[in-house]
């Protein structure tokens, strides 16, 4: 269908243009070409520039205002407001400059269009003016740098020791998440050479910390608690992007990265706010990574801390789901592994741990 529309459009355009061109040439011939320095076209173009300005600004303001809620994302983390503040402050300042300079550009063009017998003003420089408009932007920008810096330093500062730790790993073409487990709060060691079809994370089973690690299919996080997200990649570079949380960090093979943030709205709260019962938070990938780049989506659930803890307690450990890997556990640690992994539900031994 739209093939046809395009084809018709193109044909029409070509016809119109050729006609105009032909008329133009004929008119030129009749008038005798180019006697005057500028023709009537000068006025037309000047007028069009002015018209363009009004229409374009009209559309700009209309869309920006009417669709505001569509293109702005709600905030779901504590630092989101500082990012958004820097954004809107910059928007305010540059917005004014955007309008003023563009208006001047078009107004000057219109107002100082060629007049027969007129002359430009010989005005090669004005040092005071130039200093002024070097210094004013410099000061304004310094202000922006400062707001940006304070937000940035705050966001990238070290996570507190009791932050909730979770690992996110990007691979072609999905995300894996790993929790340190319910028995210890430490992520187990890993080595990429240990990766295989079941051991997607390359978990090193000689490390005791790995026995209780679990890998659910969704990322759950508690509301109001600081989260330290450890990020890595297995094959190529990916990038963790959680737009509602203003979180983005590349996942780089061979170089673990991290991002710290505090979610402050549960999924349910966000659903209510948006009036969309289907809404879910997500992680998506923002570094080109191959064929499935656009489809690397992982559901994120933010819950009240109690619900979160309950969910966590229910999660089976990886080792429990893959009992044959017990073989890889060194013989002397196997008992411990079974207990930590919840394979042997021995409360007595557990208590003695």
């Amino acid at each position: 269908m739209f093939k046809v529309i395009i084809a018709i459009g193109v044909v029409l355009l070509v016809i119109i243009l050729l006609t105009l061109f032909r008329i133009g040439t004929l008119v030129n011939v009749v008038k005798g070409t180019n006697k005057e320095k500028v023709g009537s076209s000068n006025k037309i173009n000047a007028g069009l520039l002015l018209l363009f300005m009004f229409v374009a600004f009209g559309l700009f303001f209309w869309y920006s205002i009417v669709y505001f809620d569509d293109y702005t994302l709600p905030q779901a983390s504590e630092h989101a407001s500082s990012v958004d503040f820097a954004f809107w402050l910059t928007m305010g300042l540059t917005g004014v400059v955007f309008v003023v300079t563009n208006v001047l550009l078009f107004i000057f063009s219109f107002k100082y269009q060629h007049k027969e017998g007129g002359r430009g003003k010989f005005y090669p420089d004005n040092t005071k003016l130039e200093i002024l408009w070097t210094v004013v932007p410099a000061i304004t920008l310094a202000g922006l740098v400062l707001t940006g810096l304070s937000a940035w330093n705050n966001i990238t500062s070290k996570a507190s020791d009791d932050a909730e730790v979770v690992e996110v790993m990007g691979y072609q073409f999905a995300w894996g998440v790993r929790y340190p487990g319910n028995k210890d709060a430490e992520l187990g060691a890993y080595d990429y050479r240990l990766i295989d079809a079941s051991n997607q994370f390359g978990i090193d089973l000689t490390d005791e910390n790995s026995y209780d690690d679990f890998m659910p299919l969704e990322l759950h996080l508690p509301k109001g608690k600081e989260v330290l997200m450890k990020i890595r990649a297995r094959d190529v570079i990916h990038s963790v992007f959680m737009p509602h949380f203003r979180v983005k960090m590349d996942a780089v093979p061979g170089m673990p990265t991290h991002f710290k943030f505090t979610p402050n709205k549960t999924t349910q709260e966000m659903r209510d706010e948006l009036g969309d019962p289907e809404f879910d938070y997500f992680i998506t990938c923002t570094e080109i990574c191959g064929r499935g780049h656009f489809s690397m989506k992982l559901k994120v659930v933010i819950e009240e801390p109690e619900a979160y803890e309950a969910w966590k307690a229910e999660q089976p450990t990886w080792l429990k789901l893959n009992e044959d890997y017990l073989e890889k556990v060194p013989a002397e640690k196997r008992e411990l592994a079974k207990i930590k992994a919840g394979i042997e539900d021995n409360t007595e031994t557990e208590a003695s741990l």
Binding site: L49, M91, F98, D125, E130, P137, P253, F279, C289
Partner: protein, 624 residues
Amino acid sequence: MATADIHITEGEHDHDHDHHGNFWTTYVFSTDHKMIAKQYLITGIFWALIGGTLSVIFRLQLGFPDADISWLKPLLGKWITEQGKLDPEFYLALVTMHGTIMVFFVLTAGLSGTFSNFLIPLQIGARDMASGFMNMLSYWAFALSSVVMFVSLFIETGPASGGWVIYPPLSALPQAVSGSGLGMTLWLVAMALFIVSQLLGGVNYIATVINMRTHGMSFSKLPLTIWAFFLTAVIGLLSFPVLLSAALLLIFDRSFGTSFYLSDIYIGGEALPNQGGSPILFQHLFWFLGHPEVYIVLLPALGITSEVVATNSRKPIFGYKAMIGSMLFIAILSFVVWAHHMFVSGMNPFLGSVFMLLTLIIAVPSAVKVFNYLTTLWRGNIRFTPAMLFAIGLVSFFISGGLTGIFLGNSAIDIQLHDTYFVVAHFHLVMGSASFFGMLCGVYHWFPKMFGRMMDNRLGYIHFWLTFVGVYMVFFPMHYIGIAGYPRRYYSFTNFDTLNSFSDLNMFVSIAAIFTFTAQLVFLFNFFHSIWRGRKATANPWESNTLEWTTPVVPGHGNWPGEIPKVYRWPYDYSKPGSKEDFIPQHIPFSMTPESNLPHENEMIKLEKEEDVNVVVVDDKKGH
């Protein structure tokens, strides 16, 4: 006055050379800078069409995700799936080739290659480039590079598809994406040749500007175009070798088992032996070129605009010294801001702070340039030639796109905006469209000098208006899409329920893109039609001051039939109070313009007399 320049301008040379060339030496293996410039221009136009077509194809996918595009099968073959959809890997290949072609082949080679070659000798008063032979080699290295890149579009595994920034490991591992096989190899070979071409050209531009200026053409009298080309060449010379080294290490990683960029990788069911490399290293090396590259693309456009705006406002460019100063400052700073592309790459956040500071500093000279353009228009007597309209369009894009750079340079804001459509909007306005307009502006303005004929003005106006409106329609909406969080290089957004609210806007953008692309056919028609059928040009159709307009309408080999004119004044004596005409070309001595001289200029008359008695003025305005 600077008299230290030594000139190689024996007037006897050349007269009899220009008639002896055969077809091959005149049009193909020419060493004449004007012919080489045209070769660059035509090749650039060819690439622009290819690059534009690629973007239209991927815009079809984005704007009409549900459409059946099997009708493209004759063109794309197996890259259209059974269901009549674009193959996702081919989508990435299209994006990659589009970016590479536009940035390097159109706006670097097509812009600098055309105008540096054409204008440097003509505007500084030289018979040709310092080395015509090197110049020829430069073009042919580019042509060879073009052939390799073009061939890569048609190979079985598809062209490179890791984005124009070709970050490893994606670009290093054929297992990761099929474009990283032979396609990537060809990409690297083509870029290596391309860099060779740039270096040959750059050395030549620099040598020519430094050594071959005509008598009196001191650096403080150079047109801003030449300043821009000169600084661009310097930037290129310093940064392209770094890209070459980055590419070389990548070649080693790909083919010789080294691990510069590779570490801890498990892919395609096996763990690779590489350890200890760093993908971030590549990013540093790449952006050390990559950021200066945006100025390599932009500065020539700004130089061209300065010249065109002054000429058509009939006013001196406001703040000539400040314009040079800001270009110098931008050129220097462009080397210390590269890591603003890497705020969220995992780099140390402290570095992020430093690069944020440096990046926002670079906004100041850019702002100064805008204010100077505006003041140049103020109280002018403006003639809207097509070139002038494109110059005004450039200034508008430069403002609109430049301002969004202030967002992206702020590391805190960049957390959210990095790699979203906001970035696509930003760089298309400030670098893509602005430079593209600079290029068109230059073509319209210097067409008479290139081909001895005029382009049709009316078609020029139509072309301008369709393109100007079209570009804003294509790229402005992308800001909203970006603020809403849409990542770039996405084959489709249909997976994202919450991100799926912009299908209308995406469709609008796609239609606008097709519209804008089609509008370029007006230009093509005008351009080629005018080469043969255009109205005959006069010697100085825009009443401009620079030296190129003192040559014959179609300058031959050696540019000036007689002696090269000497230069007495800066290039911006427009509407000088007292003078009869509203322009006084650079080669008119002050002794001939007593009515308009400023006090300190009257002093110069004495010097003029001492220096040389037999000034030959080759100009029809001798009467003033």
